[in-house]
Structures are given as C-alpha cells and as structure tokens.
C-alpha cells in the first residue's frame, strides 16, 4: 500500500457540495470520505455513545451489505470522537475503518471516514489527521 505524503498525492474521486471522496492510493485500496455540516448553535459531544445507538448503526449498515461492523478502539472527548474498527463489506472483504467526528474552530461539524483493506498504520492515521484543515478548505 502506498501511504499518502500529503493532499496533493490523493486522488479526488468525488466533490459534491460539502462532501469529498479521495483515494489515498491509485488502486482505491484505501479511501477517505469527508463531509462537513454547519452547526446551528454551539454544540458539544456527549462522549458516551450508547450501546443502543451502536446497535442501530450496525443494523442500518447491514442494509448496505456491511456486516460485523464493530468498534475496537475509541477516543472520545466533548469536541472530538474517533473510532477504529472493522467490518465485512458486500463483497466479503475484511475492511478496517477509522471514523472521526469533530467540531471545528469554524463551528462546523466535520466527519470523515478512512477505510482500507489493509490494517491502518499509525503513520497513516497521523498523516490523515494532519490533513484535516487542508481538506476542510
């Protein structure tokens, strides 16, 4: 897998309204989808996502052929939530994900999702986090 060196190396696959999809490598092994939505008023996260909501999310994802979705690592605060986990997609491939939600300084809610057939290396996660502000622009 080729790891990204910066935004310039990523391939933009889709740009629509406030959402973007990038391929981090040339074979779409690792993909990043990004979306931002305006906040009506200042908000903060309740860092305890209830088990029921996780079950609900798992169920709706199954409608899209995504099975065994599970979070293996969480890092939540009032302005930022990060989850690492895995699932099996409709083509029966094991996929690793990194889902991030945060409230930016500009008072928009940003969510992005990195998915890959390969286990996500620490370096890649650092690089993706580094590019957050770039993508937001």
């Amino acid at each position: 897998m080729t790891e990204a060196n910066g935004l310039g190396d990523w391939i933009l696959l889709e740009k629509k309204d406030s959402s973007l999809v990038y391929s981090i490598d040339k074979k779409s092994e690792t993909l990043l989808a990004f979306q931002k939505s305006p906040l009506e008023k200042k908000k903060k996260y309740d860092s305890k996502i209830s088990k029921e909501l996780e079950v609900a999310k798992k169920r709706v994802l199954e409608l899209a052929g995504i099975k065994d979705w599970k979070i293996t690592h969480r890092q939540n605060s009032s302005h930022r939530m990060e989850w690492i986990g895995s699932y099996t997609n409709g083509n029966h491939e094991h996929i690793y994900f990194f889902e991030v939600h945060y409230i930016s300084k500009d008072q928009v809610e940003v969510q992005y999702l990195l998915t890959s057939r390969q286990p996500l290396s620490g370096l890649l996660l650092v690089q993706v986090r580094d590019q957050e502000r770039e993508i937001e622009k």
Binding site: V21, L31, S37, A64, G90, E99, L113
Partner: protein, 755 residues
C-alpha cells in the same frame, strides 16, 4: 436512480432463478406436478384470466426459469439508462435513515445531537467508500451498477417484495394468470412510474398504498399501471410517455433503445443471408444536417429516437394484426430496419407504406408542438425520415436513399416509401451514368498537377478514382465543396465540370451502404463529472463513399451483384474505423496509465469520449495530444476537452462546440493561398480545443499539435491564431445550449505541442 432500477431488475431476475432452483431441488418437497398443473389450468380458465391475451398468459407446465425469455427485455429496459450514482447512494442512505428512525425512535439523524451528532449520518460515508472500492474492481459494461450491487441487494429485495405484495393484492391476474415475461414487463413499468423521485419510492416503501395521498405522482402512476394490465383492449393502448418539454425528451429518449442487441444481431444475421425476403429501411436522412445546424447532438438523438418510438409502435400493431408473420427488427442511431417472413403480400406492403407515412406526420406534428429549437420552426420535419422496401436489406437501403433524393428534388415534399423493384432498372442505368461521369472527370482532373494529386488508382486495376479528400469536400455541401477544391487544393472547375462532379458524387452516395451495428453505444460526456474529452473521427462517411466509388469503378456484373459487392466494401471500411477507435482507446489508456491517471473510453459510430477520474491539467492534455498525434493521423480526429464542474446537461454540448470550432478553423486555414496553410501540412496538424467551464465571456484555448517539430512556420501559426479568433466569433449565434444559455466564448491561449 435509474441505475438502482437496473439493480432491482437484476435482482428480480436472480431472485426468480434462485426461487426456481430451491423449489426444484428441495428433496423434501414432493410436489405432485400433475395436480399443480390441473389447478393452474383451472385458474387460467376462470373469469379473472379470460381477458389476458394468449402471449401473456402463463403456461402451466412452464418452469419459473423461463424468465430467461424476458431477460432481453429487462436488459433493454435498463441499459443506457445509467444515471447519477450519487442519487442511488442517497436513496440507499434515505432507506437506512428510515430504518434508523424505526430502531432508535429518533426523528432523524440530527435529533441525536446531544448523544453524538452525525453518528448515524456518517453511514453515507461508508456507502461512498464502499462504492468506489467496488467500482475499482468491476469492469464495463454496467460498471457503476455492478459496483452498487453489493450494497443495494438488501434494499432492492425489500422493494421487490413490496411491489409484488402490492401487485398481487391489487390485481388478481398478476400472480394467477401472467407468465414471467409479462410480470417482468409490468414490474418494469411499475418501477418506472413509481420510483422517481426517490422520495416517492421511499414513501411507497414506508407506507405502501397510503403514500398515494402524499405523492400525487404515485396515484397517477397507479392509474397508469392499471392501464398496463393486459386485456385485449389495453394491448393497444398508446405506451409513449407524454413528452412536453426538452427535459422530458432528454430523459426519455437520449438513451432510448427500440431494439435489444440480440434483436439487432438476429436481424444482421438474416440480412447477411443470401435468401430473398421482405426488407424495410427507415432512416433519418437529415441527421448530419441537423447535427451540424443545431450543434446539439442530444436533441437530434432524442428526436430520432422519438420518431422510432412512433414507428415501432405502429410496426408492432401491424405484426399483431398478422400473427403468422415473423419479424426481425434492427435499430441504430440513424436507421430502423425490419425483415418479414414469409414475404409480404402487395396489400401488406401498401399497409406498411401507409403506417410509415403516418408515423412521419404524427412525429412532425409533435416536434412542432414541442417547439424545441428556433431553427426547427421552418424545417420540413415530415421529410427527415425516408424509407425503402427491397428483397434484400441493401436493396431496401438503396431504395430509402432514393426516396430521400426524390424528396429533395421535389423541394422537400414528403414522398411515399420506394420499392427497389421499381427502381432496379433505373439503378443499373444510374451506375452506367455515374461511371461515364467518372471517366470524363478523371480525364479533366488528370490535366493539371493539382488535379492529379486528388486521384488514386484502385489497387490491382488501372482504374482511377477520386481520393478521400475529394469526397470529404463533397460531403460538406455543393457550394462549399467547389470552394474547398479551389481554395484548398487549387483545382478550378468550370460550370459544367462542377455540375458533373456534384452529380457524380450524389450518384455514388445514393448507392452507399447502410452501416449495421449490433450494439448501440451512447458515447457522450454526461457522466464526465471530473471532465474529459471527445474525439470525433473525421471522414468515416467520406471513406464509405470512396469505397463505393472504387466498387463501381471495378464492378462487372448485374445490379444485384454490384449491391452485394458494395456491402463487402462497407465491411472493409468498418474494419478500418473499428481499428482507429481501438487504437484511440488503447493509446488513451496507455497515456493515462503513464501519467498515473485513469479514464473510461466509450465509442459509438464515429466518435469516442474519454471520461477521466481526476481533472486534467494542461500538461496532461498536451501529453494526450502528443501521444495520439504520433499514433494516428493528426487531422483524422477532432479533440475537445471539457473541465470538471460543468452541469451534466451541458457537458456534451460544450464538447460539440469545441468540435465545431475545430471544423471551422481547419476549413478556413487549409488552402493554397498566401493567407492559408497547404493541405499537405494540415494533414499533420492536430487541433484540439480546451473548453472552459463558463460560457459567458470565458476563454477557449487552442492546442496546436504538430507532427514534425518545425512543421508550421511562425507565420502559419499566426494565421491559425487569427482564424481561431474568427472561428470563435462565428460560433456566437450558431449555438444555443437551451434554457436561455447562449455561449459567448472568447479566444484564449494558443498552446503548441511539437513532436
């Protein structure tokens, strides 16, 4: 959304197969088939089924697997209707949201702010990454649909179940009487009527029939579906959608296919057989002129297909009236062809003649009502389509062209179909007269150096014919042709010679064979979200006519033999262009790969488009132009690049505007005068247009590709620059993108690529 419909059709198909398989292979199910058959027979004979036409009634001994027979229909219904993939993903996401509401009790994603804003909403991000991952793995055709398949399966199952429940409940005949083909046809209609817009689809999924009160369109759709349930009367109900606007025309008819690939292939097989039969050809003789005049290929395609819909409907009624007749059907971007077996009687020919005429009149009336383009107001629309009958497909083709010529000579007065039998003697005389003209013209052209350059000897003979350049000039129209021969090639013809040459050309053209293509590929830039480029291969029409001229010059035998040998010549030219398109495809892929880019290339009759995944900068465009120039004849294609960010409806139109600029620019600079560039040099020049996103005062860049580093002098480049500005100016007023968008381009940079 249509893509999703296709997915549902695929699912419908596979579900039936799997149901049939499980039914037949379960060891514990000991079904007394004879008993089932008797019950089934009893149902078919009851009052519910009595009005269903025989061809739609199920057979009690048929296996569910016989849905195979409707596969072509399902494929035909969905093919070409590939629409925005983001609509599908959003639709799936909407369904997911609905399920989320059911599970969590939350009104929508946003209502859970305090517990984790967007936690559910991010499901759409999963859809998107999965879609692109899957897309990478899949191949054409239906790549997008295959890519979405893995994630849409569950939802399409939900929808099909819901529809079948509804149809079975509302209409007894659906389950009890109809065979699988008729069921599939109804489901197709049902989906088409109900599942646009997606919100209505979702409402139907959630509330079933109750959704009708919220979505008036659904109620209307239900009424339409009611009409579609077969009865003796409803078989004859007009099935055409009501076209009231340009948008509807685009939506319904740009991708419309009157026949399936299998039907076209079957017709071609029949046409290539030597046994005589009854053949009919109907062609849009005005296609090229309309494309040139209107500069809007989608409009011309839509209208040609609308006419097909009128025509095929009447032909269907005709064949229903004579159930013993076996019909083969063919359709491509320009022509509709039919063959009948056994041979038609004189009365049947007459009937066909009348129905073709009625289709033309009905079509013309409709186009006038629609008022789609100011230039169509005074056009004689009823004469666009000409038709001919014959005992072979080529005879019907020759007769159709004769019909077009006769109409032209009669000041575009509509005329009936022409039967080849009536013109056979005339064709023989015609061939002799054409050849006499060729002898005289060749003698005249041989007298000058400039003229001799435009002649070539047919290999293996001592016969001289005109080169392709002459036929290319002649295809531009009578006046322009004479001017091109003079200014571009230095051949000055007197009045008599001019008339003789034009008459020779029209004579040869009349014998030109039709092109038979099994599969119609729509090559447009509608899906070029990230931009792309079109390549129009110049000269295919001219190459065909040149080949006919060669066949005439070397032919010895009867008229029937001559027409057969022209067909062989056509096969030769088709191979030549297929190889050009294939070369273009492979070269584009190679260059893209070299640059670490990807593109999808689609080709139709004489043009190709390349859809890129990431927008191309000028460096990459230059690379593409350079590589294509080295692998092909630079003047043989017109390249037009479009950037990302153009609305879908304008992408192809803007690319065509680029092609028009190239056409005009090449024409105006290629001549032997001191203000021109000699044709020999221009053969090695590729002119590519780099179109802008905006249309109001935005700049168009011209890329001049030279095969030969110092091919053009500085002065010649200056000539191109000046003429480029003129060509852009001329385009203003020539093109209207619709909806009040009239481009006002400005000449931009001149970029040179030397190889």
């Amino acid at each position: 959304m249509k893509n999703f419909l296709f997915l549902i059709f695929l699912n419908l198909f596979t579900i039936n197969i799997s149901m049939a398989n499980s039914f037949c292979t379960t060891p514990n199910s000991r079904i007394d088939m004879q008993n089932v058959s008797q019950i089934c027979q009893g149902i078919l004979e009851n009052s519910v089924c009595k009005d269903v036409p025989k061809n739609k009634v199920k057979k009690c001994d048929e296996e569910n697997r016989s849905l195979n027979s409707s596969w072509d229909y399902i494929q035909g219904c969905a093919k070409g209707a590939l629409d925005s993939i983001s609509d599908i993903l959003e639709f799936i996401s909407d369904v997911m949201k609905w399920v989320w509401e059911g599970v969590t009790g939350q009104k929508d994603w946003g209502a859970m702010t305090e517990k984790g804003l967007g936690f559910g909403e991010s499901s759409l991000l999963y859809l998107k990454t999965e879609y692109y991952r899957s897309y990478e793995k899949e191949s054409e055709p239906f790549r997008e649909t295959k890519a979405v398949m893995s994630m849409g399966e569950h939802i399409s199952n939900l929808i099909i179940t819901k529809i079948n429940q509804y149809l079975s409940k509302e209409y007894e005949v659906f389950d009890q009487c109809l065979n699988n083909e008729a069921k599939a046809q109804l489901t197709c209609k049902f989906l088409g009527n109900f599942f646009l817009p997606p919100a209505a689809a979702l409402a139907f999924l959630k509330y079933g029939k109750r959704a009708f009160t919220e979505y008036r369109g659904l109620e209307k759709g239900a009424e339409d579906v009611k009409k579609l349930f077969p009865s003796k009367e409803s078989v004859l109900i007009e099935r055409k959608p009501k076209i009231l606007s340009r948008d509807q025309l685009d939506k319904e008819y740009i991708h419309f296919q009157a026949t399936t690939t299998a039907e076209n292939t079957a017709w071609i097989e029949r046409a290539r057989k030597s046994e005589l039969g009854s053949f009919v050809e109907v062609e849009n003789g005005a296609l090229k002129r309309l494309n040139d005049q209107l500069g809007d290929k989608n409009l011309v395609t839509g209208l040609t297909n609308l006419h097909k819909d009128y025509l095929f409907e009447r032909i269907d009624l005709f064949t229903k009236k004579y159930p013993g007749l076996k019909i083969s059907k063919y359709s491509d971007f320009k022509s509709s062809r039919f063959s009948f077996e056994p041979k038609l009687t004189a009365a049947q020919w007459e009937e066909l003649n009348l129905l073709i005429k009625e289709s033309n009149l009905e079509f013309a009336k409709k186009v006038r009502e629609l008022n789609l383009h100011p230039k169509l107001k005074s056009d004689k629309i009823e004469t666009w389509f000409s038709s001919g009958f014959g005992e072979t497909a080529d005879q019907a083709g020759v007769a159709a062209r004769e019909s077009r010529n006769v109409a032209r000579l009669n000041n575009d007065h509509p005329i009936s179909s022409i039967d080849f039998k009536m013109i056979k003697g005339k064709v023989a005389e015609h061939a002799i007269s054409i050849e006499e003209k060729r002898f005289m013209l060749v003698a005249d052209f041989s007298k000058t150096e400039a003229g001799r350059k435009l002649l070539e000897t047919v290999p293996g003979t001592d016969q001289k014919v005109f080169s392709r350049e002459v036929f290319e000039a002649l295809r531009k129209g009578d006046d322009q042709a004479i001017s091109i021969l003079d200014k571009k090639y230095g051949v000055k013809l007197d009045k008599v010679q001019q008339e003789s040459l034009l008459s020779y050309y029209h004579g040869v053209d009349k014998l030109a064979p039709g092109i038979w293509i099994p599969e119609r590929v729509v090559a447009n830039l509608d899906d070029a979200v990230a931009g792309g480029f079109s390549a129009d291969f110049a000269g295919m029409g001219a190459a065909n006519i040149e080949q006919v001229a060669k066949d005439l010059a070397t032919h010895k035998g009867s008229v029937d033999d001559l027409i057969a040998s022209i067909r062989k010549g056509e096969e030769h030219v088709t191979r030549e262009f297929e190889s050009k398109k294939s070369l273009f495809n492979s070269q584009v892929q190679e260059t893209m790969e070299k640059m670490g880019e990807k593109s999808i290339v689609k080709c139709s009759g004489d043009d190709c488009v390349s859809l890129v995944r990431t927008s191309l900068n000028i460096k990459k465009k230059k690379e593409i132009i350079g590589d294509l120039m080295m692998k092909t004849s630079p003047s043989s294609m017109r390249l037009s690049f479009i950037p990302p960010g153009i609305p879908k409806a304008l992408r192809s139109k803007i690319a065509v505007a680029g092609e028009m600029i190239e056409k005009d620019l090449r024409k105006s600079v290629t001549n032997l005068s001191s203000n021109g560039i000699p044709p020999e040099k221009m053969k090695n020049v590729m002119l590519a247009l780099d179109m802008p996103k905006g249309v109001k005062g935005d700049q168009v860049n011209l890329v001049i590709g030279m095969k030969g580093r110092d091919l053009l002098t500085q002065r010649e480049i200056e000539i191109l620059k000046q003429s480029f500005a003129d060509s852009i100016r001329k385009l203003r007023g020539e093109i209207d993108y619709g909806d009040g968008i009239v481009p006002n381009y400005q000449p931009g940079q001149i970029i040179i690529v030397r190889k």
